[in-house]
Assembly symmetry: C2
């Protein structure tokens, strides 16, 4: 990624992931970050279970944290914060090697969420994220329900 906006968002997303030690220890890092578009990778090594496949909790974490990463590329993080209210994950294939996840928020959806949040104090969105092995096969599908609220309103 060579454009300065892209590089800056990549730094913003990487810093957001590092701010949570649990995520940092998993080695999850952004490969791409643009407004409303993020690609993350979870490396195999720190996340394998005793069968040598990626542990379910690591796959869940990869799916979950892309919600916060997308938030950082899409909204003013000095005014709003994201939270997850619930998630589902379905495991469909043995997860071998590094696993990647890609997610998008369309600009119309970003505008709708911001409008809802400004009107009601809460903006909600759902995110479905396929988790892929290096061959492009879906190893799991993560679905998360997210909200953003005004900074300082955590109760």
């Amino acid at each position: 990624m060579t454009d300065s906006t892209g590089e800056s968002l990549l730094d913003v997303v990487a810093a957001g992931l590092r701010a949570i030690g649990f995520i940092e220890r998993s080695g999850i890092e952004p490969l791409e970050a643009r407004p409303g578009h993020v690609v993350l990778r979870a490396p195999a090594e720190p996340n394998v279970n005793h069968f040598g496949t990626m542990y379910a909790g690591a796959l869940y974490t990869l799916g979950e944290c892309i919600g916060g990463a997308l938030f950082r590329t899409s909204f003013d993080t000095t005014a709003w914060f994201p939270l997850v209210t619930g998630s589902t994950i379905r495991f469909t294939k043995i997860a071998l090697g590094d696993i990647t996840a890609e997610a998008r928020l369309h600009e119309d959806e970003i505008a709708r969420i911001l409008s809802d949040a400004e009107a009601t104090g809460k903006g909600s969105w759902d995110l479905e994220v396929p988790l892929l092995d290096s061959g492009g096969d879906v190893v799991a599908t993560y679905t998360g329900h997210y909200q953003m609220r005004p900074m300082g309103s955590l109760t």
Copy 2:
């Protein structure tokens, strides 16, 4: 826990958790382990997010790994292995401090799962696990779908 069977099962469960580095790094450990009954604790410190509350991925991991822990107290781990096919987690309260999870498999259910596995090669069960703060309030509810299969049959 003073009876020797209980102490031994506690060691078995602790060893099972330590076998997955991702879980070990979260500091999750068993408080109680009896046949068909496990209590686990996730300490706050390695698992907090940037708000000082327990990160969603840590809460998910606490719920998920109790399925494997219960398996170890209930079945012959030299003949069978467990896997998770899917899970859901609902977050209901800000998770402050250490969080505990308790789960049980009734002996009739253990017998049914083993019978299914011997007959078909797969024994399935669902597990609903409330995650509790130190005041006993539910901070999240984890639901997991588990299977056990004959050792060596992972495909």
